[in-house]
Symmetry: C2
Subunit: 246 residues, 2 copies
């Protein structure tokens, strides 16, 4: 489906709260949707704990394989916020205080009650570029091809929207859906034939199961060539109609 010059992205979600089930992650699906709109392929996502080794290993692996890496979580002022230090370690850079981040924080909180804790959010790897935080001022940052953002969804989303215009865009992806109360196995052969006939179109088959009497399948068709996508969509609709009628 993706052409040769595809722009690949990885996501790294940092936080014990996701791995303990305390918090349902919503950042992945938010970014996934926007990356898809920009024609950027999200190739892999990882969720790791607030532990240095795990973060450093994962960010190095993703950074070397992807064009862009987006991380969320661990950039606040408390002892368990270790993302900035891990990024410095992963890219072998010293940690510095960003004077611009400091200026922004003091502009927003002129007489902070915990000035030292506030400064923790200005410490980042040397050479990092700030990512604007229009919600609570404390910026994210970019280091090499890695974009380091907050974990709080409202703040992460604001940061991501700010950096979206700066990302390279891929070819526009056309996406169609055909849903029907058809048993997946019945149309499997037809789908496989279509999959072979249209190698540049991705055909995903996602069964749903609500109850014994209410289940079926959702077929998602995607590609950069709109004509091909439309042809596959029509063929899948015919396939569904044929077996629904039985």
């Amino acid at each position: 489906m993706w052409p040769k010059e595809t722009i690949n992205a990885g996501i790294l979600i940092i936080g014990n709260e996701i791995l303990s089930g305390q918090v349902q992650d919503v950042n992945l699906s938010f970014m996934a949707t926007h990356l898809q709109e920009m024609g950027i392929r999200l190739k892999e996502a990882r969720v790791v704990a607030d532990v240095e080794d795990g973060i450093v290993t994962a960010v190095r692996a993703l950074s070397s394989q992807m064009d862009y890496v987006f991380t969320t979580g661990g950039i606040g002022p408390t002892h368990d916020d270790i993302t900035a230090a891990c990024m410095a370690k992963a890219f072998d850079r010293p940690l510095v205080c960003s004077l611009e981040a400091l200026r922004r924080l003091y502009e927003r909180y002129p007489s902070p009650r915990a000035p030292e804790a506030l400064t923790r959010m200005t410490v980042m790897p040397a050479g990092a570029t700030l990512i604007d935080n229009t919600v609570s001022a404390a910026p994210g940052f970019q280091i090499e091809n890695v974009y380091v953002m907050a974990g709080i969804p409202a703040i992460m989303q604001a940061m991501f929207k700010n950096l979206m215009p700066t990302l390279r865009k891929g070819p526009r992806l056309h996406s169609r859906e055909v849903v029907g109360a058809v048993v997946e196995g019945v149309i499997a052969q037809g789908l496989e034939d279509l999959d072979k006939a249209y190698p540049h179109v991705e055909i995903g088959s996602y069964p749903y199961w609500i109850s014994e009497t209410n289940h079926g399948v959702r077929i998602v068709i995607k590609g950069t060539n709109e004509n091909e996508v439309t042809r596959v969509e029509n063929a899948v609709t015919d396939l569904m109609d044929r077996y629904r009628a039985l």
Copy 2:
């Protein structure tokens, strides 16, 4: 927080639909919650596409690092269901037809409309053990330390509940929460002091931000020693009260 003999687990979520943002994953948080209850540490989760290389690499990496690996997705009857083949490749085993899986499927669907597609769900690595599927009969399977399950949440949850009694359990984890409309930075030093004083208790600080006038922090305290957890909980409550009063 976790003692030396900790049981570690990894999760591998397989599916283009999650990486494209089409589907919000809910399997991770379901398993995360239950693993925590069983005293098993979920150390890392990965989300990969329906692509052989990515699946094989990820499952090998997780299988070698963890005691248990749980995968979801890609075991249906269509062309994009390649998980079983990838597991065979990852563990260098031939693919066979599980006669017991075949028996179960025919028992449930005595005159299948697409018998060939049905048999796809019986193909698995040699030596695999079946995981019961009480919802739609097609079983998952276990191969070495990897448990391969369906992606549909209702089916995955039924499979996971069936295999839970067979897993080793870790020490019971005690977990407490203290929530307050306090700026995170203000209690950062107090939290850090507690974190140092109680090295076996994990103190997580999770800020929330609903609006400019409604934000605060949720502190999650966890450990296997209930007395220590209670002491930290009381100290955090005092800390919150002190700063809330200001």
